[in-house]
Symmetry: C2
Subunit: 417 residues, 2 copies
Amino acid sequence: MATFMHYTPGEYAQGHIRITGTELSDGRQFFYLDDTPEYVSGEKVRELRDPRELANRFEPGVDGEGNPIPVQAPQMRRDPLTGDWIPMATARMNRPITAGPGATATGNPLAARNPGDPYQDGEVPDTDYDVVVFENRFPSMNRIPGVKDETVYVDGNPLWPQRPAVGRCEVVCFDPKEDSLPADLPVSRLRTVVEAWAFRTAEISAMEGIEQIFPFENHGQEIGVSLAHPHGQIYCFPFVAPRLEQELQHTEAYRSRTGGNLLRDILKGEVDAGGRIVMRNSTWIAYVPAAARWPLEVHVQPVRDGIFTLDQLNDNERWGLAQMYSALLKRGNMFFDTGNGEGMDLPYIAAWHQAPVRDRRRSSYRLNLQFFSFRRAANKIKYLAGSESGMAAWISDTTPEKIAARFHELGDTDIDK
Amino acid sequence: MATFMHYTPGEYAQGHIRITGTELSDGRQFFYLDDTPEYVSGEKVRELRDPRELANRFEPGVDGEGNPIPVQAPQMRRDPLTGDWIPMATARMNRPITAGPGATATGNPLAARNPGDPYQDGEVPDTDYDVVVFENRFPSMNRIPGVKDETVYVDGNPLWPQRPAVGRCEVVCFDPKEDSLPADLPVSRLRTVVEAWAFRTAEISAMEGIEQIFPFENHGQEIGVSLAHPHGQIYCFPFVAPRLEQELQHTEAYRSRTGGNLLRDILKGEVDAGGRIVMRNSTWIAYVPAAARWPLEVHVQPVRDGIFTLDQLNDNERWGLAQMYSALLKRGNMFFDTGNGEGMDLPYIAAWHQAPVRDRRRSSYRLNLQFFSFRRAANKIKYLAGSESGMAAWISDTTPEKIAARFHELGDTDIDK
């Protein structure tokens, strides 16, 4: 029987949600977030041990011929021309669990486990669950116990620092049903997903070496998501990611120049202008930013000031966010005209921009969600080619006002009504 | 009969190539670059007038019902959170000339025109050509005569400057044969393509408002290229593009700190280390950068110092570049193991990083080509999902040394041999 760590209600989780931690057989952390009885936390007695007996990931293994396989710490290198750190996830190249279009139900590693299920890559050691979070089995970033976080130089050249990628990658599974779409989940389940983001942000912030916690959701085969089971990821970077770095340079410069908070003033500007506001409730406001770069792009900020990261949200704000996330996904599915009035399963990326964990510029930031889609018409994809991939120069095929006007056709702006 | 402008040999073109300028019927500039007789320049007498009688692009038109269509200057807005200028190419949304998978030969706007050809979107008013360059019919950036380059503020808010996108977009057609692959073109034809890049860089640098000239090639349906005819583009930005801006910040900081040129010292470091050099001839060196982010990535720099832009290359360097570009494309096609030893038509992006036109940081830079592919295995694509598209955080699936080792299997490093 695995060991469970029961979180006291209120310690991390707000409201009714119960969190229980355990470990998979290779030592990875695994968390249940229950929003409905029976709770794993003490009220449910089951054999929840991971039956796979996976090798401890931090001990050297042996290959099929008995040769030792050393434990390798993922490495990252700093690109001198951009300053970007590039994790090099050599182990990901042939990861076995990726399900392709032909994958069967038993090949879904996020499926709830059926008693007697022989499938050895199933990651959830339970017959049912609400939301679970666990460490990625093949992480591109990870801290290996005993491996020192030391910088070396590639070929001895100080232009090329290299050090272990002491980050962390987690998977958030949104629902036990593998054919659920996030847009169709009840608000109460999305509320539990919000809880997972907040809980993990709080706990991981205390871990050594983590500089930024990035919960995100990739949705749709069009952007390479091969596993249909509704899920998201949390990348925890041992650096400030390039895009956040760029934003922080601007929020800091703005604070120096004006004393104000740039994101707050952007939000105020959007509220004052009005025309690009697409949804609001008592705790959140969603708008198409005035210089949107994607064919469909919406940013979401909390109404209340002083929120840098998801774990700072109160119970009311967590409910408000779940409600807004649900409405955003539903309206996103109706955004492009498919000709039959039925909408589509919109491919999208939902990217949580949180303030950095330790960086002194943290206080000039403000939590925001950046939601966007590569789709530019019902039958067209925006590809990131030379201009975007080579020069980071986006060229919009539309205007923010047109995006907002389409959202206004899809429902009331005030979603509390 | 159209008016021709004959460039004196040596004025722009190095060596044997002759350049002749003319105009399409809507006033767009159009250039022939002839590498073989008969030259348009005086030795060939043909009716080269564009037969389409397109409306002058800068005069208001009328729609099908006789209503006037005003001339709109493409606009761009500055994103306050990143500082990026975003051109908003509303007119591109429904551009008619994009050929789809079902496009026929007569639907290829880059095809040489056959006498009596009724196809009205053919852009080349000649029955044969070597290389041509012309202004894009539906540019996302363009200067409209009489439209002042004035900044206004979206909704009156100084956070959101907007001004005309006074850039320029040109198309470079590499060869008259629509089924040619750039990898299969003779070096002598690629030499003419180099000439086109250099010529346009020289001429456009003198145009008002242009800050960066970006020749690039998108190749492959996998990245959304629907027109198979071998061609590239030249985007001329009225700003320094975000990626070049990031690089200039680093080349400037390096110069302040060390007095050196960062790109030169990177090149020297790669030559000293040796293992990531994949090709060299007497004028160019190609290497996998020590912190490569793409599954296949090669950077190419000239050997000679003091080259900021392509127009500064001498005749010998232009030949050397054509030879190296050819070898790079051929080896790129063999890079991934298709199982039958025949290679593939590799999808790639070739991005020319030139020093900015006017920016004072120009002198800390150095011309370089960044060549990369989204393909990460013969049957796999690297998608730019949440980490890359949302946070600009690349995670490599391989290592630079593995990429270089594969290139070393594909041919001699010294390509002069």
